[in-house]
């Protein structure tokens, strides 16, 4: 099953989503999902909403049964936006760097569907300003598979090449329309009982599962006086919040609001970086489950 060629993927890409979804789960616990060429330790798989899901050290979420890759917060064109709006001149390589990492991941997994969970571009202008090389690389990556842009707060209209807006159910029919490989731009994307959206919904109850981005969660571990902070996945019974995949993205400590309210007291953080490392989320002194602050007072 491994090492399948590009051609065969293209053939399969014409299948409907239903066919993709009905493919039997090829992964058993304790084994690297097929179709991946990822180093051991760089994958952590777990059962969530009765599905086998893999968190990757690269920052992507892999759903082997559907051959679906979800990534969040690419923030392409961030340095360009900061130059434009704030006069900051950061080294302008974050877009090629992010695209390079994404290319490696997609080559290794060969997903049938890629869901970008919003804030894929740092703003709508950043999508238009993309350098030609970067645009070409993105188009190449998207060719032959379903590619869903979920709109984010940074990029409500992106990408410029996408089709109509509006909330829709999972699209069916022709996936690769003409020269536009982008399948859809959606406010949310639903697959079975699982909904993909940019920001975790505010209501406490989520029916089914919810996969989102937006917050750039980070987790901090300290031991023997050394402190290490890594972007992380947050996994609770019903929610998964993805780390930011983009290169120049800060982060929010997973003990800071609103995380305690979103993920509850028994969540697991999966650290990214060299390895996908699961740790329990333990916030010293935090009163989990209650909003600790009413306003922005304090420090």
């Amino acid at each position: 099953m491994t090492g399948r060629s590009k051609e065969s993927t293209r053939d399969r890409s014409a299948r409907t989503a239903k066919a993709t979804a009905s493919r039997p789960p090829a992964s058993r616990h304790g084994r690297t999902p097929p179709g991946t060429r990822l180093a051991p330790g760089r994958v952590y798989d777990f059962t969530w909403q009765s599905e086998t899901i893999a968190a990757l050290a690269d920052g992507g979420l892999w759903w082997p049964a559907r051959r679906l890759l979800a990534i969040a917060d690419l923030h392409l064109g961030r340095s360009g936006r900061l130059a434009r709006t704030r006069g900051l001149l950061l080294p302008p390589w974050e877009t090629p760097e992010t695209i390079e990492r994404l290319t490696v991941l997609i080559d290794a997994l060969d997903p049938a569907t890629v869901v970008c969970l919003g804030d894929s571009f740092d703003d709508d202008a950043a999508a238009r300003e993309l350098r030609k090389e970067d645009r070409t690389a993105l188009l190449e990556m998207a060719t032959g598979r379903r590619w869903i842009w979920v709109a984010g707060n940074h990029d409500p209209a992106c990408p410029a090449t996408a089709r109509s807006s509006g909330e829709r159910q999972e699209p069916t029919g022709d996936i690769n329309a003409g020269d536009r490989p982008w399948t859809a731009r959606l406010d949310r994307f639903v697959s079975g009982s699982i909904v993909f959206r940019h920001i975790a919904s505010a209501e406490a109850k989520v029916t089914g599962g919810e996969i989102s981005g937006h917050f750039h969660p980070k987790h901090r571990l300290s031991s023997r006086g050394v402190r290490i902070t890594r972007p992380c996945f947050l996994v609770s019974d019903r929610r998964i919040i993805l780390p930011a995949f983009g290169h120049y993205t800060g982060g929010l400590d997973c003990c800071e609001p609103p995380f305690p309210d979103l993920i509850g007291p028994r969540a697991i953080a999966i650290l990214t970086g060299t390895k996908a490392l699961p740790v329990p989320v333990r916030c010293p002194g935090a009163r989990i489950g209650r909003n600790p602050r009413s306003g922005r007072g304090g420090s």
């Binding site: 616990h29 304790g30 084994r31 690297t32 051991p40 330790g41 994958v43 952590y44 798989d45 777990f46 059962t47 893999a54 961030r78 360009g80 130059a83 434009r84 704030r86 006069g87 900051l88 001149l89 950061l90 080294p91 302008p92 390589w93 974050e94 760097e97 300003e129 901090r220 571990l221 300290s222 031991s223 023997r224 006086g225 050394v226 402190r227 290490i228 290169h247 120049y248 993205t249 800060g250 929010l252 800071e256 697991i268 650290l271 060299t274 390895k275 996908a276 490392l277 699961p278 740790v279 329990p280 333990r282 010293p284 002194g285 935090a286 600790p292 007072g297 304090g298 420090s299």
Partner: protein, 838 residues
């Protein structure tokens, strides 16, 4: 108030208060014709006689630049202001006349208070105002339109003033700049910024004169070149240094311990000295040690002597309270760090105690100058060695001080990142011509050798970032107009430039508050230290033991604790290395058969070292190898300072790893480096060679954590990263990109970028201190005394007891992370539910 005014303005003492002999140079007349009638009468009324250097400065007041080097208490500040006050007697109210710049906000306010009295007594109609970070925005606005005669400020506030378009009008009337404590400013990048500001002021007011006021320094001419408009020289006035200080080394009943830097053994003896003195300043080299020492002093302080603590990590309120109590004469001693090296004159201090070796003789002399601010009386100081080796070093320092052998190090060239900031500040003030700004910058002392190429690189960086990857038009901060002038692409950016002015970069610190949200602020700890705390941990802060409750956003919340053994707050602060001269004096001292002034307990230790091994000799590198607890120890007496030894340790263990000697770890002090390995070093000459450690040095250095720390500073100062964002109360921390990431990105895509070059230069001078390693090799060439014995040598034994051993672990961080993660999962009972695939 009368006393403090007296302290700052003290001319010669009141006749009824002359104690002992008063030595006065005869070559100056008691009254000088230069003093105007009003002033002469005022001096006479106070019963004072001007010091010779005060009248000399008056003489030289029309020189373009004068540097006055005088000990504290010599009426230096009045000397600086005399020419201005006399000129203003007739011409006040004609715009800004004199600008006074000092390194401390507190000093500016203090000088203002102390000037008001003589101004009143002289009947002068002069407006004197301060302008610092504490000045209200409304006052600042008014000052830009309607300036006082005399403005007292700091280098940062001056740079901020220059970033406004009105600055050209404001400073057009400026006649004089007085730079106080110039020796302290010149040591750092703040000095570079000030020098560039002076060059700018000179353009705005071509007739401006410069006066510099400095404490005793080793190289006054060098400092003069820093002050003067390059390439011109500076007139130097060296005041009578006064009677030599009386320095002694503390003798205690028992000998000091073999290792460590805390000097806790000396607490009872120090307390006794404090009791005998009127008021004492107790200088300790690091904040953490000062906390521990202070805590120990109070445990012994059965007589409840009023003793306070003062260091940079305490809250401003806490420090203000201590300073006010000191001025009011309520304290018998202050335990302090470098924060009290400068500042308000306290006339009543009659004793300076230096705990731990001073490491640098010039700083020792300046600290001693903090006592007895009376020109005629000798200052008194006691050195407290923290361990056996420091007994030798303190003796060496004492001899060096007696011989007036100061060890200031030559000032490096002006830093590129500061020039970048200066260019942005200039752009914020309005369009500029690149040629003119280049010529102007070269008139700043530290930038006198600035090449056009470097200047252009800095300008290019400010304009576009200087990246090899070309971007679209709006990728510009500065743009060139059709007439060739440069200006901000977006004038609104001036605000964020102003908000990020400054060259002092601290570690990320978190505020510490007692109790819940609106609790009293008591100080700050490093973010990295706060991260290691768990609920219930205790640490020392401001002499109190506090219990860590929680971290809320950027505040550490604590409560009082009665725990007996606290963790200690770690502050990285500045870590000085023992100076080259002091190291050489130590080696020289060891060549005596019976080194003078060394007590018996240390003499016998030196004697034993001579018998068992060898003593370090000038021009030769002593290396010892011996087994210890199944490991092979190698001790290298480099005498190159702690930072250089640290670097040397990292480089040598890397070489040892490559040759299979299996190093385990190393430990460093200012004089030696001890490495543990599984296999012994048999050929010290091959291992310890300059060519050898240079191989692969650049790669090693580029990937090193210290480089990332240096890069952060360079990136912030040059304006690549903004710490403060307009319209945001938060610091830039949450919103800006991590500087480590920027460093890695630049290294990957443009390794020759200007900021990476600046970072390397900065690290080589500072934390890496490669210059001292080169100096060590130059001093010893390849003459190595390699002693191989079967026992631990007397000089090496204390190193085995030193804390702070650096372990050599391949892939250490990742392994540690994994262990910790697994432990946490097991503890939470989660390892059964989820499992890693590998």
């Amino acid at each position: 108030m009368a006393r403090s005014a007296r302290a700052i303005l003290s001319a010669a003492p009141d006749p009824d208060n002359v104690s002992g002999t008063r030595e006065c140079r005869d070559d100056t007349p008691p009254r000088t014709p230069e003093l105007s009638e009003t002033f002469a009468a005022w001096f006479a009324r106070r019963g004072w006689t001007p010091h010779p250097h005060q009248t000399q400065l008056l003489d030289a007041a029309n020189d373009p630049a004068v540097l006055l080097v005088a000990p504290t208490g010599g009426g230096k500040t009045l000397a600086g202001f005399l020419p201005t006050l006399m000129e203003l007697e007739s011409t006040s109210g004609t715009g800004l006349h004199t600008l006074y710049v000092s390194p401390l906000k507190a000093l500016a306010s203090d000088v203002r208070r102390n000037l008001l009295q003589p101004v009143r007594e002289l009947g002068l109609d002069i407006r004197i105002e301060t302008r610092t970070g504490d000045t209200a925005p409304g006052v600042k606005r008014r000052q830009r339109i309607d300036p006082p005669d005399l403005l007292l400020t700091t280098p940062e506030s001056l740079a901020l003033l220059l970033s406004h378009a009105e600055s050209s009008r404001l400073f057009a009337s400026l006649r004089r700049v007085i730079v106080d404590e110039i020796h302290a400013l010149a040591e750092s990048r703040r000095g570079d910024q000030l020098a560039l500001a002076l060059a700018r002021l000179q353009v705005l007011s071509p007739g401006m004169k410069r006066i510099g006021l400095s404490a005793t320094v080793s190289d006054a001419a060098d400092l003069g070149r820093f002050l003067a408009a390059a390439p011109r020289d500076c007139r130097l006035l060296l005041a009578d240094p006064g009677p030599p200080p009386r320095i002694s080394v503390l003798r205690t009943e028992g000998p000091p311990p073999w290792s460590g830097a805390g000097a806790l053994y000396a607490v009872p003896a120090v307390l006794e000295e404090i009791r005998k003195a009127r008021t004492a300043l107790v200088f300790i080299n690091t904040r953490a040690q000062s906390e521990v020492f202070f805590h120990a002093l109070w445990k012994e302080n059965s007589g409840n002597l009023p003793i306070a603590i003062h260091h940079g990590a305490l809250s401003r309120e806490a420090r203000d309270r201590v300073e006010a109590a000191m001025v009011a004469g309520q304290l018998r001693a202050i335990v302090c760090t470098g924060t009290l090296d400068l500042g308000i004159d306290w006339g009543d201090v009659d004793l300076v105690i230096q705990v731990g070796t001073p490491k640098n003789i010039q700083r020792l002399i300046q600290r001693i100058g903090r006592s007895n601010h009376r020109y005629d009386a000798p200052s008194r100081a006691i050195l407290v060695p923290a361990n056996r080796f420091e007994v030798i070093e303190c003796q060496a320092a004492l001899e060096a001080a007696a011989a007036h052998e100061l060890d200031g190090e030559a000032r490096g060239a002006g830093a590129g990142d500061v020039l970048c900031q200066h260019i942005l500040i200039r752009a914020a003030a309005g369009p500029f011509d690149a040629d003119a700004l280049y010529q102007e910058s070269r008139k700043a002392g530290p930038y006198r050798d600035l090449t056009r190429e470097t200047f252009n690189a800095c300008l290019e960086f400010c304009a576009t970032g200087g990246y090899a990857l070309r971007r679209y038009d709006r990728w510009q901060r500065l743009k060139q107009r059709p007439d060739g002038q440069w200006q901000l692409r977006d004038p609104r950016r001036a605000r964020s430039i102003r908000m990020n002015i400054g060259t002092i970069i601290e570690e990320e610190m978190l505020g510490v508050r007692m109790g819940r949200r609106y609790g009293k602020p008591i100080g700050r700890v490093e973010e990295a230290f706060a991260a290691t705390l768990s609920s219930g941990d205790t640490f020392l802060m401001g002499g109190r033991i506090v219990r860590f409750d929680r971290l809320r956003e950027t505040t550490v919340e604590v409560s009082p604790s009665s725990h007996a053994r606290p963790k200690v707050a770690v502050f990285s602060g500045t870590k000085f290395s023992t100076s080259i001269r002091l190291c050489n004096r130590v080696i020289a001292l060891l060549q005596h058969d019976r080194p003078p002034g060394i007590p018996p307990h240390t003499l016998s230790w030196i004697q034993l070292q001579r018998e068992v091994s060898k003593l370090p000799r000038p021009g030769r590198l002593l290396v010892e190898s011996f087994p210890h607890r199944k490991t092979a120890c190698t001790c290298i007496y480099g005498f190159a300072g702690k930072n250089a030894h640290q670097t040397l340790g990292l480089l040598l263990t890397r070489r040892m790893e490559a040759t299979g000697l299996q190093p385990i770890g190393f430990v460093t002090t200012d004089h030696a480096l001890l490495i543990w390995s599984l296999d012994p070093v048999n050929d010290a000459g091959t291992l310890i060679s300059l060519a050898g450690i240079r191989t692969g040095f650049d790669d090693w250095l580029a990937g090193n954590a210290v480089m990332k720390r240096s890069f952060r500073n360079v990136a912030i100062i040059s304006g690549l990263i903004e710490r403060n964002l307009p319209g945001s109360r938060k610091t830039g921390r949450q919103t800006t990109v991590s500087s480590d990431l920027l460093y890695d990105t630049l290294r990957k895509y443009q390794p020759d970028h200007m900021l990476l070059r600046l970072t390397r230069e900065e690290a080589m001078r500072g934390i890496v201190d490669f210059a001292r390693i080169e100096e060590m090799f130059a001093r010893n060439r390849s003459r190595i005394d390699h002693v191989m014995t079967n026992q631990v040598t007397p000089f090496a034994a204390p190193l085995l007891l030193e804390v702070g051993r650096v372990p050599i672990v391949a892939g250490g961080v990742e392994r540690m992370l994994q262990e910790k993660a697994e432990a946490l999962m097991t503890e939470a009972g989660l390892d059964m539910i989820s499992r890693a695939s590998r």
